[in-house]
Symmetry: D2
Subunit: 342 residues, 4 copies
């Protein structure tokens, strides 16, 4: 049984493991004041090409989203998100649990455009409705699509003009940054967004997300929010070491490239075998459509999610590749699939 | 510079590190459904000697407290805690942030007694006041004292008779379980408490707390609370491996013993050098009282917290020992102290 | 200038005012323990034909919804509502502010059906999503439509079978109860719903909503929630007197009939003048479609809401009738309209 | 049976009732945009002698406190209150329910001093503790004592210097303003406080509290908070009319004077009969100490609260006077007491 279920099926990238071993007995201050964390933040700032930003290393994605968004908003302010957005669908109402409405917008490809945001803003006025204040996007989106730089620029401009905060969930950012379709850099994000996070859990870390605060108004006393929401790791060194290793030699991008390459082999092999795709993703998630019979056969040797039912006889599944995905297993999957087709 | 600042200055116990290395490439399901977590839970149940309990592995102490308490209580229900309680003082209002009042009780030694709880219960009635519903204790307490079995039994009885939930914060439970004064076992806790957590962050893990739900009424759909509050680790294996290693051969207790032994050497050495103690702790925290001059001298070679001011010229400091504390360093500290005394 | 803007433009029904005057100097206990409140609750129970229900008199609709729903749900449980639902659109995120997601469902006529609810339930599973737990409907709906008894029965059956709570916002319940299309009684609601409120603010009271708890599991310690959320009126007598007057001789239904009759004259007059309706409401709200020119002319003499834009040249407006709406004014409006048509 | 239980046992002052009757049929906009509310706010501003303040009319005291405080604070900020403070004891954790800790300070006479506030501020630092941000006082206090102008000035100065907000609960402000000991005016409060409310429920209104926002930074978008927390009254006219009547000819102060005068007769009569007082209040609350036998006798003819047990044989009770308290009844009470003494 080989798993394409997600990008967190294996442990941690060996480079990180090695660093954890080597530093293990060195005493360090707790709560993110250790030297590894300080170094990691320095490197991240240099990659984002801004010294005047704040960076906080956190454990998980839902945690990061809820800490950031609840810290940014006043009680009556709300979030605009695609209806497919992770915070709207898959975080058990974590944002609402902090008191804030998430306003969903139906979109086809998981991407928000200015027009979607404008519709929400224009239809809200007066004290009887929430005040839309933060635009939430994910890149890659939850269905594997990638934003173009021009799209992010347009959203950024609209947000600035309309006093909205622009926030990006980068749970799989390595995959976006190294996608064939990508034309954005970390430095671009640092300029165009008010805040975003760089996800590592799904790109080779044992856990870890780096929350970046670009907008000055969001920085003040931020640490209180982390502690209050249970996000302050005592042995913060574990986060520092991981981000240091991931970014000191661009291991993060290498991992993204590997994931995307493995996904592309899957994608191309599936097309080659004349199957349809639910969406043509250019990140590390692949969404083929198979008949129920084929899915059942595949489930004997592979684990993956059934994504959505297409019709009575067919469903889309989701295959995800990770830093550890083996090319031999990817090729074997394609081979298996071609045999099932016959 | 050697640190006695806390019990999370070093990394992780070597046994755990070894297990992380050995299991690293084995694919596992995410979110705590991996085999290491299942095994860890089995072992924990056998140590607690109850199969009918639920156990959830979480990352940190504040996170565990806030997830548990907010899940257990209805909106108007409140917590009774010693005024020194970690949730009252040192968690940035995490419990209140989930909507619940923490009612503080002044006590001398960090320990709640039935009489304290009864006073709170008796002074609350009617809908204009919160309804006290959960009794929170820490063992060891925040000032290093240890509960006796009879004290826990009395609190347990009072809580049952008065429809109160009885919850214990076991951030440093290994130290309590192996203290000279201890007469309680994990199995006792499983019988006497409605819920408690077994802390590992401060006893050799990189992070991790095992939340135990003994009372049936607290178990239902608990996982939703974990995810909603940002506490569900994608690579749950990292928790499972750690608890498995800590409990399969009682490493957890060995670590507690080591910590307590190092603390006792400090404690005895300090008394031997004729210094006073702020409180005579029998756990892995030591609270000597020194003159400001001596403290300043010590700070040149050691890091530790200044705990509380005694008078203009003297303060209590806190020294904490960990799984990794070296006996040579402990002896050197006593030596240094004796030299300063002269 | 005459107002059809809402049903709270005037003060209070004269019968109530008379009772307020007559009882003014009689001393009574506070917080809803006065004899007027007790009598009002008795009468309400007799109208609902159940003695085993709890009734709490509250001040406003948003307050009632948020107190009830936040008291009924555990933290991760969510509400299913039509996308037009008052709690989703017009209460400034009051429900989310208590921590609960409201899941919107797009419907044409403001009414939820079993199929809508089932879709939501079927698409939610596992701890990564909220757990849908309460079905919220308004009757009349926010766009003036009325539920049939068979529809309520079907929803009630589905909710019972699927462990969902069924709650109704009755802000304009007098209008629904006396609508031409109505086939439901207060006693039916008492059998089919877990909880609902009987709105008086929009039917002749100065303020006041009677929250009815039918399901035993919702009753316990409910008063704590009222006080905690700021809903406990010191001079609860003001609520008791109003509900007593509204229900002792079915004044509530008389007011509903008057409102509906005035609305019907508007509705029929508008049709007679050959204008279209946005929706054919059978309650006290009327939604005609007029050209922008006609709307501007009407605005010189009448106040009302512009409801929604139909196209570049036409919009729907909303006309609302109240207990105090004068038939002469209604007829004058139709007259004015017919003159504008020419 | 005559009630001295509280100051909300009777209905509304006749002047207000008259105004409610006279304005009843006049159509007005909803939600506080009516002319009575606008006029009331104008008068209040002139009494406070500041045009640059915002005033919102709300229904009840707990509601006002929770709306104001939750709007003013960021999530990790906390309130400093006397341990006797209404928000700490008697509002069912309403402030905590909005996410904020209330830090209690033990004081003897219900009054906070700079020293108390400074102790709290000095003992809080770093992200592991909440950040004290708002100082809450009540005037009169919950035990009937009155602040001097110099005390308020000192607190105000300390708050300004330490970036704290200074907020006053004025539930019984008329009684404070007209107390023999008072040397403060509404205009003083407008200068010295960041926000306060002028309570009317306990001074002749059917309900109503006027929240005053003096500090510019607190004003922005405040209305959203009112609506979200369920505090926006549809027929806002009911609040406007009451405050207009209470303030247009200083009826509010007249009521305060009457209440205090009645209380003084009680107070002096009790002393004259040689009973002790629990606290020598100069507001409309009187706290005599009686033997249990006398209390039981009094309870046959009067209703009042037993305030606190003094010893096995004696308790303090609370007697409260209202706008409607009759001097004949007050004299009869003293007479009864003197007879019991014999």
């Amino acid at each position: 049984m080989y798993s394409f279920k997600n990008d967190y099926s294996e442990g941690v990238h060996p480079n990180i493991l090695k660093a954890l071993v080597e530093t293990n007995l060195i005493q360090q201050p707790g709560y993110g004041e250790d030297e590894y964390t300080l170094n990691a933040i320095d490197i991240l700032k240099s990659k984002i090409k801004r010294e005047d930003i704040d960076i906080h290393l956190l454990v998980g994605g839902t945690q990061t989203n809820l800490i950031a968004i609840s810290a940014f908003l006043r009680p009556y302010e709300a979030v605009i998100s695609a209806a497919t957005g992770h915070i709207f669908v898959n975080e058990t109402g974590a944002i609402e649990a902090t008191g804030h409405k998430v306003i969903p917008v139906e979109v086809n490809d998981g991407k928000l455009r200015v027009e979607n945001v404008k519709n929400v803003v224009d239809s809200h006025s007066g004290v009887h409705m929430v005040k839309p204040k933060l635009v939430y996007i994910s890149n890659p989106t939850e269905i594997g699509t990638i934003y173009k730089k021009s799209e992010i620029e347009e959203l950024s401009r609209y947000c600035k003009e309309n006093d909205l905060l622009f926030y990006m969930d980068g749970a799989r950012l390595a995959s976006a940054l190294t996608s064939e379709e990508n034309d954005l850099t970390l430095a671009d994000y640092g300029q165009l967004l008010d805040s975003f996070y760089i996800g590592a859990t799904k790109h080779g870390a044992l856990f870890g997300e780096a929350l970046v605060l670009c907008n000055d108004s969001l920085k003040k006393e931020f640490g209180f929010n982390i502690k209050q929401k249970g996000g302050l790791l005592a042995k913060g060194r574990a986060l520092g070491i991981q981000f240091y290793e991931l970014f000191k030699n661009d291991l993060y991008l290498e991992i993204g490239k590997h994931e995307n390459k493995m996904a592309k082999i899957l994608n191309d092999g599936i097309k080659d075998a004349e199957f349809d795709l639910f969406i043509d993703s250019s990140s590390n998630q692949v969404f083929p459509i198979f008949s129920n019979e084929i899915i059942e056969e595949l489930e004997k040797s592979y684990s993956f999610y059934r994504w959505t039912k297409i019709d009575e006889n067919n469903s889309a599944i989701r295959l995800v590749t990770s830093w550890a995905t083996l090319e031999t297993e990817v090729l074997k999957f394609i081979e298996t699939l071609k045999n099932l087709k016959k």
